[in-house]
């Protein structure tokens, strides 16, 4: 019974990982870009949401905002920050030779954004963890002796909706076809008339949306936000993405859930200190033994030959 309870908990935990992992896998799948700002965007949504709900708009424009509105603005902040990242990683990027170090330019820029955004948040809001004034996370219901928290069930539902919607977007819509064309072959996509400068920002908007959503869900579910909250989640989401296979959305879903499960089981059997080794070990083993992951394609993320 305890194991089943743990399993349910791990699915709930996994749903946050899934959302962030989908953001990672989307940027890698379409742009072959490992975006290190993703955990920071997640954190930004949570922290901005908290600040608005606790203090209200800056310069005394309003008192504390109700929490759903605050989180909505938090998500908007994440989307705006993500678009800013797009400006400086892709818009102005000129590759001359396409060698391996040049390939890393967006990645390095995103490391720079990680430092800037995270430290700005520290300067603005301090380094301490803050209690998020959301709905009580303790609303639980019991199904056959298994306890589930209602906000978590709602989050899980939202996550499933988002992923299904995203898959539909990529498969059916015009913009989705453009994205897939870029993922296949950026030069050919350009020739076929896909306007990269209009399609690429969509990836970053979706990234911001997913991270913002995950940050908001995290704030509501755990009732606590901090400038460091992105680091742990980022780690687990990357692991989930790799296990599922780079560039595969359903792979990220599966991988995120597997990582949540691994985490819960490791804590259950070995204690909390070994989680890091277990999750990163899982990631390293996947990379070495089956780099394409469970559902991924082998060709993505290999860089230029």
């Amino acid at each position: 019974m305890l194991l089943i309870q743990q399993f349910v908990n791990s699915v709930m935990l996994g749903s946050v990982y899934v959302t962030v992992a989908v953001a990672f896998t989307l940027t890698i799948g379409v742009l072959n870009f490992l975006n290190f700002t993703i955990p920071t965007l997640f954190m930004l949504a949570g922290m901005v949401g908290w600040a608005l709900a606790y203090w209200g708009l800056p310069f005394g424009l309003s008192g504390p905002l109700p929490w759903p509105l605050a989180l909505f603005f938090g998500m908007c902040a994440a989307i705006l920050a993500s678009l800013l990242v797009e400006r400086f990683t892709f818009r102005y990027l000129k590759t001359k030779y396409g060698d391996s170090t040049e390939h890393a330019i967006p990645l390095v820029s995103s490391l720079g954004f990680l430092l800037v955004l995270e430290n700005l948040v520290r300067i603005g809001y301090g380094t301490d963890a803050q209690r998020f004034p959301g709905p009580s996370a303790d609303l639980t219901m019991s199904i056959g002796g298994i306890f589930v928290r209602i906000p978590q069930v709602v989050s899980l539902g939202i996550v499933v909706l988002i992923v299904v919607g995203l898959t539909w977007l990529l498969k059916r819509s015009r913009i989705g076809r453009g994205l897939r064309a870029i993922a296949e072959n950026p030069d050919a996509a350009n020739i076929l008339g896909v306007d990269t400068n209009r399609v690429v920002p969509v990836v970053f908007m979706l990234t911001g949306l997913l991270c913002g959503l995950a940050g908001a869900l995290f704030a509501v579910n755990y009732g606590e936000v901090s400038p460091q909250m992105g680091e742990d989640i980022g780690t687990k989401a990357i692991a989930g993405m790799v296990v599922g296979g780079l560039g595969s959305i359903w792979g990220a879903v599966l991988g995120g859930l597997i990582v949540g499960l691994t985490e819960m089981m490791t804590i259950h059997f070995f204690g909390a200190d070994t989680v890091q080794v277990a999750v990163w070990g899982l990631l390293l083993l996947t990379l070495l033994l089956r780099p394409q992951g469970l559902l991924g394609h082998h060709s993505i993320g290999k860089g230029k030959l």
Partner: protein, 306 residues
């Protein structure tokens, strides 16, 4: 020499060695985002040998370097089968596994850290850094260095030229690992204490930024990058409070202001990184720049002869 400057020189020397350790794989086209893992291996090996067996510093640091190098060599084979994003992730994951293992090891002090009995003053890291710099310059001037740079530019063609690119990559990765381990060993003895929290992911990120911003085309790049980014925070430590009080005076605040947040320094490092990638992605020091300096020197020498 004051303790403050001795500390800065030590950390500068260690960062230079560390940066060269990351430079070698990067110059071969392999982004290594697991620097902290190799540094931790060297540091903990040295700390353990020093604390448990009281071995002399050259032995502890030497063994630390060898351990990191051998581990680098062993993981290079599976890890370098991956490339691009996968390689970045694999090296990153490697560092996290090392950190996690040390954190859970009772013998190595776990989260408590370990104190290192033998202490070395700033001269030793500085001298070692000098030798490492000479070594890397030598290495880059050999045919091995040429094949490293060729592999970075185009693996397929380099292979067709008769270069065993796998051998070149593995060697560069392993030697780089050994140098990072050396930096770790020196770190352990210079600061008399190691704790795993000081070998976190941010350290790996910083050192890669030193190398990429300094420039990966010549051995001057990491030297410039490490020096700039070690000294910049110290410079900012004195300059930023002045800037803040100046700005405060400008907007009419008369009373004394507190020192600015320490995080500003990292904001500046990040902003510089972004600006560099937009304006000069090949790094501060490029090959053309060095060639031009050399050409000017030799041509002016020729004119003097004439």
């Amino acid at each position: 020499m004051s303790g403050y400057w001795a500390g800065i020189l030590s950390i500068l020397a260690i960062n230079v060695i560390f940066a060269y350790g990351i430079f070698l794989p990067v110059a071969t086209g392999q982004l290594n985002l697991g620097g902290a893992g190799f540094q931790a291996l060297g540091a903990y090996t040295a700390a353990y040998l020093s604390a448990m067996f009281g071995l002399p510093v050259p032995v502890t640091v030497g063994v630390g370097m060898v351990v990191a190098g051998v581990v680098g060599f062993l993981i290079a084979f599976p890890i370098l089968r991956t490339r691009g994003v996968y390689l970045v992730l694999a090296t990153f994951a490697f560092a996290e596994v090392v950190a996690g293992t040390i954190l859970n090891s009772e013998t190595l002090g776990g989260a408590m850290g370990m104190s290192v009995p033998a202490f070395i003053d700033w001269e030793i890291p500085v001298i070692v850094a000098g030798f490492v710099t000479l070594f890397v310059f030598y290495l880059m001037s050999t045919r091995f260095g040429l094949t490293m740079r060729a592999t970075h530019d185009d693996e397929v063609v380099t292979d067709l030229m008769g270069v065993n690119i796998r051998m070149v990559q593995v060697c560069a990765f392993a030697i780089g690992g050994a140098l990072a381990g050396l930096a770790g060993g020196l770190y352990a003895h210079s600061f008399s204490f190691v704790e795993i929290q000081s070998f976190n992911a941010l350290v790996s990120i910083y050192v890669l930024l030193y190398v990429l911003l300094g420039g990966t085309q010549t051995a001057w790049g990491p030297l410039a990058g490490a020096a700039f980014f070690t000294l910049l925070p110290e410079l900012l430590r004195t300059v930023l409070p002045q800037v803040k009080s100046f700005l405060a005076a400008l907007v009419g605040i008369e009373e004394p202001v507190g020192p600015p947040d320490d995080s500003w320094r990292f904001v500046i490092l990040g902003a510089l990184t972004i600006a560099m990638m937009v304006l000069r992605p090949e790094g501060l020091i490029t090959r053309t720049m060095i060639e031009r300096l050399r050409f000017r020197r030799s041509s002016s020498a020729r004119e003097q002869v004439a």
